[in-house]
Symmetry: C2
Subunit: 143 residues, 2 copies
DNA sequence: GTATCTGCAAACTCTTTGCAAAAAC
DNA sequence: GTTTTTGCAAAGAGTTTGCAGATAC
């Protein structure tokens, strides 16, 4: 699932939403930023560079909307603010190593959980839609 | 690691904290409540039944303190409020199935991750202190 | 032209903090 | 007696909402 302007436009129109310059710029921020896990305030700061009059409320509303359309994925690293990144797939995200000292977030991929899921689903009568695995500890800079 | 009044008392005294009636009652709430994942407001509601004049700030401060002493473990289920439960072990907590419809939280145990950890530590130069695994989906009531 | 979207300010929720009085030891 | 702890009220952070004007199509 690769998101470009056209696929997002389509998703918006499918649900009677419009493509506004604000939404376009917010989307651009995510394609261009090298930091992946952006908070609303982060996004706002970057959007204002090309669109200074944008409101923070618009950023929040847009991030919400994009999360609803499965364009962005909302995460929580326990620091009291939501973080957003592009949805990797329809189903599962990758996982995160979170440094308790400096707060840095590293990603890693793993398929081990997939095989666990069907077992857990059966045992608990629970339909799994997504999973989230986080390791907390100290990164190589903070040893 | 089983926490009773005496072990907690010891932990408090070890760090020059005092055992107050408020702290005693808050601890009791966790031993007596059948719902395990309590928010500060939850705890406050239950504490007030036996100690009506307690302040919410005291509850927050006590939960913080207990988390620092590894008596309680603070969690986050993505609903914008912190949740607390007894620490299961010095190292790792169990994991959670979170229903996206009704918000119910079920627990499950699994040791599969333990074997993953040393591999991840080596590959990423990351010292893992704790991990957190959550499955989001629909519980048996909400199918 | 009409429904959606925006910016602003105000409201809201959860949590933290400053302070003087109270309590633990 | 000293230090920690408490309750209160006020402040703080992050997020949401109501509304009138603006914009996409």
């Amino acid at each position: 699932m690769k998101h470009n302007l056209d696929t997002v436009k389509q998703k918006l129109y499918d649900k009677d939403h419009k493509l506004t310059p604000q939404r376009r710029v917010i989307l651009e921020v995510f394609t261009k930023s090298k930091e992946k896990h952006l908070s609303a305030e982060d996004v706002w700061g970057m959007v204002k560079k090309t669109y200074p009059e944008v409101g923070l409320a618009t950023v929040y509303r847009t991030l919400d909307l994009f999360a609803e359309l499965d364009v962005l994925h909302k995460m929580d690293f326990g620091d009291g603010r939501g973080r957003y990144e592009f949805c990797e797939s329809e189903v599962h995200q990758h996982h995160h190593l979170i440094c308790l000292n400096c707060g840095s977030v590293t990603e890693f991929e793993d398929d081990l959980l997939e095989c666990l899921e069907s077992e857990i689903e059966k045992k608990n009568h629970f339909k799994i839609l997504n999973h989230e695995l986080k390791f907390y500890g100290h990164c190589n800079k903070c040893h």
